[in-house]
Amino acid sequence: MTARLRFLLISLIGLNWVLLLLSALRHAGALGGALDGVGPAWPTLTAQAGFALVVFLYVRQLPEPLREQDFLGLLRRLVLGPGLLALAGLGLGLLARLVAAGWPGLEPGLGAAIYTVNLGLFVFYVARVNYAWRSLVLFKSRSVLRRGWPLFELLLGFGLLFVLLDQAVPLALMYGLLGALSLFGVYLSANQKWVAYLSTPQRWQAMGYETLILGGLLLFLAYFRYAGRADAHLTAPAAQQAFLLLTASFAAFYAAAGLLVAFFNLPTSVVFEQRRAEVLSLQCLMQVIQRGQTAADIYRVLLESTIQTAEAHAAWLDVEPAEGVLASPPPAAGRYELSAVQTQALRAAFEQQGLLRTEFWSNDLTAQAAFRGLGLPHRSVLVQPLATAEQYYGTLYLLKNQPNGYETADLTVLQAFTSQAVLSLENLQLAAASLQNQRVQDELRIAALVQEGLIPKKLPTDDWFDIASYAQAAREVGGDFYDLLLLPGRRLAVLIGDVSGKGVTAAFHMAQMKGIFHSLMQPNPLAKTERTRYPVPAQFMTQANAALAHCLEKSSFITASLFLIDYENGGFMFARAGHCHALYYSSNQEKVEYFQSPGLGLGIIRGPGYEKHITNQFYDYAPGDVMVMYTDGIVEARDGAGNEYGEGRLLLRLEESYYRPADEIRTFIMADVHAFTAGQPMHDDQTLLVIKFKLAQPQV
């Protein structure tokens, strides 16, 4: 409604009221002169009709008086605003009477003026009340009612016409309209849905306000009757006041109906509040999951809500100790008005009856001997387990002092609560498992990155050997490592190994071994001979073992083999610390064989004494010889039937390919391994190193 229209309405109200005042004064003979006396009634009537119409129109377009579900606020504003104003008006009227008693000369004019003021206030009051009732009637109403209200207003509008139509109103029409409006009014007054939304104290307040509103209307009625009796020309015949009477009647009728509805529904409000509390508790329980609370919180909310809903005098939530992701300190005493001794006795009694972890309900506990012996003051009990088909979380016991304290409906409500709690617990578990899974995925990714970084990118080259490598990590990082160092004096150090375990820790130990290798393979400046310039393999292993002893995990160990190949001497030294035996083709003996040498893995003996378990081996090589180093991922690779590739096959493949260059040997062997496994998933890292000794160019 635009400001301009509002201004127009207010102006019309003002104008009409002034006209009313003038005509009232004229009637009372207070204007003086030719204007006084009884003249045609129609100006007054028109002014009255006009005034009522514009006031109602104005109030009709005011913003919705009901805010959200604040019914009491609506009633209070009605009483305090227009109500007090109206009361003030009546007070003024009373004052006028007193004044008139003292100054008779003022009487006619003052009385008429006061009367008009009160009429104005009354119309405004009735309009406000009626439109407040509209908000209440239409609160959550069906569309039928919404369409009905404008019809009601239309009929009331006809009533307004009666004011203008003086005596020309056919009786039938009048009674017809009256009848229709009365029925309509009664029908509308039956719509007191808003009362159901009030709590008990709120209903008392509402009744109070309605009484005041009714009182106000009655006061006005009394006033107008009194004024009418005192001064005949002030009021018009009933038919002409039809509109005001009808609206005032509806206002009063609705208020009275509301009063009665609120009063007679007081006992039922208790039930309504209970149901609402149940729903709110259930909502609270559901929110607990969303806020990411712990299992302990869920149990606490469950216990509190069910005690309240079931109106239990004592309760106990027997929680099954959880393991895994839900493991947390047990909820601090899930007991209510029961001692630990009593709960233990209760559980024992149930167990004895074979009723542990089952639904149970008794309205007379003392009827059973087992429970009588407990000495508990309670007579009714509800027992509900919290469980799914797969898992049992706990049991809820609710007790009441009086017998017959529970009925089927209570068990149903309790089940709703426990189901919701179980759902929340399951959700918690799932969320935790998912998080755990995410962590594992992240760990594997990091480990794979580390491993990728540790693979030697460039293989050393020289004219006296050929190296080919193959390294493939399994999906779950396995721990294979290898490294090669070309040392001064035409020496080659080759390290190969396997860390037990998987994941980030294996990757770290791989990095550690690489570091140990690089740092130990440094020339010793104080060495007296060439032999002692670099650590011999057994020494390397002993030192590596000592370095690892401090940080290797309890049940982890590392296998490794270190070869120190010396071109000048035409031979090599090696130590095998628990690793797979190297495969060797000797061109002199024209034989392919596995080396056999003792040697304990690293990280098994963590203190001194390891050096007794590792030895140096010596071997002279010849050009044309081939050495194959590998990890167990190759010989333990399985085919579809579960057979392992095995050392046998590896040996045969080398026998078939030793004469070829190193890279071809490597490719040949790996092709055979892949053909063997034929698409089976890889369970362990596979690493293969092929070193072929060549006829070297004489050094310049």
Binding site: S500, S555, F557, T559, G578, P598, L600, I605, H613
Partner: protein
């Protein structure tokens, strides 16, 4: 894998049945971690029905070696299948642990 304990006087016999992989290694670890185990003079591991051992399984045995040694409890393996013994041998555990062919020898070891 199933672990069956058969205590006979001062000797505890642990019968391993199945494959000792990463998950069953946890079961074995629990069994070997029991404090009562240290009260025996000997702990014999019957490996007749042990068909496979992973590095996790080996790690469990390795990790309890020192503890048993400190408590003067002798750990003896017997009736090991060839494949499983091979694994122990490559790692060099045959020089560290007592592995014998039969139960009789195990009892007298």
């Amino acid at each position: 894998m199933k672990v069956t304990a058969q205590p006979t006087g001062p000797v505890q016999v642990l019968l391993l049945d199945g494959e000792l992989d990463a998950s069953s290694a946890v079961v074995l670890d629990t069994e070997l971690s029991k404090p009562e185990l240290l009260k025996f003079q000997k702990v014999l591991i019957d490996c007749q029905r042990l068909s496979y051992i992973s590095s996790a399984g080996l790690g469990v045995f390795i990790s309890h070696l020192q503890r048993l040694q400190d408590a003067d409890v002798k750990l003896v393996f017997y009736n090991m299948q060839e494949k499983v013994f091979n694994v122990f041998e490559i790692l060099g555990l045959d020089s560290l642990m007592t592995i014998v062919p039969s139960q009789a020898e195990a009892l007298s070891a």
